[in-house]
Amino acid sequence: MLENLLNFLRPVRLYALLLLLPLAWFAWGTATGTRLLGDDNESTETLNAPGTGGHGHAGRGLYFHK
């Protein structure tokens, strides 16, 4: 049955490969907790979170710490 399905889909096999891109994008967004169209974060410090090493303490004064 799977073989029949694959044969049936043969005319669009290259397109199916191309569709792996958006599917991989979706999987990446799910795995990393990323909203693909951007989020509401306005902080310049964590715009590229979590890989934001190097920004040091910039913006620290903005926050009130418990």
């Binding site: 399905l5 049936f8 889909l9 043969r10 005319p11 669009v12 397109y15 199916a16 569709l19 958006p22 599917l23 994008w25 979706f26 967004g29 799910t30 990393t32 907790g33 990323t34 909203r35 693909l36 169209l37 951007g38 989020d39 509401d40 974060n41 306005e42 902080s43 410090e45 964590t46 979170a49 979590p50 934001t52 303490h57 913006g59 620290r60 903005l62 926050y63 009130f64 710490h65 418990k66």
Partner: protein, 430 residues
């Protein structure tokens, strides 16, 4: 028409009774009617001494047709020779004219026709016992495309019937691209023909001529298959499978979200310090919550506002590193009754999404600013691992992009096809 044991002669010659040009003809046994390629006289000759001349097709072109008389071509595995050509038009709409090439299969004496209209070609053959059981030629699968009577504009070559007698035929065409059915009725006599679309590239290959020598195509052919017809079922099957898988994944993600990591109601209190601007509230701090892995956060804020507004900068602070995410939401809700009808504007609830929040311990800081004397309550709910429906819809849109584009192409293809028909289903929309 009888079969003989002797082999059919390949060709023979006869003289035009008008201009005395020597005419080569190929259906030596059956051809009786001829249109001289030189002077275009139309006459009958079946062996008698003096051919009978009916007239002259003065409108015939001086140049050689696209498929010259005598040329051989291989179509559907069979060898055919072009032996005749007629140009016809609809009796009621003479502006619609087309060409019909008579193709003779030398080995069997079988005839087929190649019709060309606006550069689109169809191969037409008489329905016979040879293909009567074909499942793809069932009339209920076809749609009526045109009904007409035809007139001969001009002709070249040889014919085994009087082409002028075709004027009394009532022709009905049905299409189910790439196939077509043609019914010819004369009185109680009815004959059926079958046909299929022939791509110009296939025709050029069949007759070993250049594609550029064939007329340019305009619009959509009567039986021309829509673009992407071969892959159309596979495309939608693939799209359906992917959408189902995506939907299932999204449902699983929605289930995974579980209960909120923070659910707290906080009260806005005015900042009474001397330096604070009027309407500024005290900084509010939520209880801490922990994230055990990197995730997105969905923060819902629901304020008890009534004809009031609240500007609410919020920061999410990592208690170990001090790193923060921040966003600002403006919440306003107004309602009332005017002219006996109630109205409302704005919303008490807003939502913010923060992406890629690393694992750690966090709390939220709120810096409210509102009208003087207003102290609303804010219900804060924070969800980890939200399903992020926008991700689903973005990828869904990407998956539907190509099928949607193809759908549009096919739709416009169909509209152009039926623009040539008296039975245009889109006519009422225009």
């Amino acid at each position: 028409m009888s079969e003989t044991a002797t082999p059919r002669p390949e060709s023979a010659q006869l003289d035009c009774p008008e201009c005395h040009t020597s005419i080569t003809y190929y259906d030596v046994e059956d051809s009786e009617y001829y249109a001289c390629p030189n002077c275009h006289a139309y006459f009958r000759w079946s062996g008698e001494e003096t051919p009978k001349v009916f007239g002259n097709y003065k409108d015939a072109p001086k140049t050689s047709p696209v498929l010259p008389l005598g040329i051989l071509g291989l179509l559907d595995g069979a060898l055919y020779r072009v032996v005749g050509l007629t140009s016809r038009c609809e009796a009621n709409h003479p502006q619609y004219s087309w060409r019909e090439y008579q193709l003779l299969q030398p080995e069997t004496g079988r005839y087929v026709q190649l019709a060309e209209y606006d550069g689109h070609w169809t191969l037409i053959w008489a329905a016979s016992h040879l293909d009567k059981n074909r499942e793809d030629f069932k009339l209920p699968d076809f749609r009526i495309f045109n009904k007409y009577q035809s007139r001969i504009n001009w002709a070249l070559g040889e014919f085994d019937w009087d082409i002028e007698s075709d004027q009394s035929l009532y022709v009905t065409e049905y299409v189910n691209p790439p196939l077509l059915l043609v019914q010819e009725k004369r009185g109680r006599e009815s004959n059926w023909y079958r046909g299929r679309h022939v791509a110009p590239e296939e025709l050029a290959t069949a007759f070993n001529i250049s594609r550029s020598a064939l007329p340019h195509t305009e619009g959509t052919g009567m039986a021309e298959p829509a673009p992407g017809s071969r892959s159309w079922p596979a495309l939608w099957t693939l799209t359906g499978i992917l959408i189902a898988a995506l939907l299932l994944t999204q449902l699983l993600l929605a289930v995974r979200t579980g209960s909120p990591v923070l659910s707290q109601t906080i009260q806005v209190e005015p900042n009474t310090t001397a330096t604070a601007a009027p309407g500024t509230g005290r900084v509010l701090v939520s209880p801490s919550f922990a994230l055990d892995h990197q995730t997105a956060l969905d923060i819902e804020l629901n304020a008890t506002l009534s004809n009031q507004w609240l500007e609410l900068p919020v920061s999410l602070v990592n208690e170990q590193t001090g790193r923060g995410f921040e966003f600002t939401k403006n919440i306003e809700f107004y309602s009332g009754v005017e002219g006996g009808e109630s109205w409302s504007e704005g919303s008490r609830e807003v939502e913010a999404v923060l992406s890629r929040v690393p694992a750690g311990r966090y709390h939220l800081n709120f810096y409210p600013f509102t009208e003087k004397g207003v102290s609303p309550e804010i219900k804060v709910t924070v969800w980890a691992n939200p399903a992020l429906p926008s991700n689903f819809f973005v990828v869904l849109a990407l998956i539907l992009l190509v099928p949607g584009f193809q759908l549009l192409r096919r739709h416009w293809h169909e509209r152009r096809r039926w623009a040539n028909s008296d039975y245009n289903p889109y006519a009422t929309e225009e």
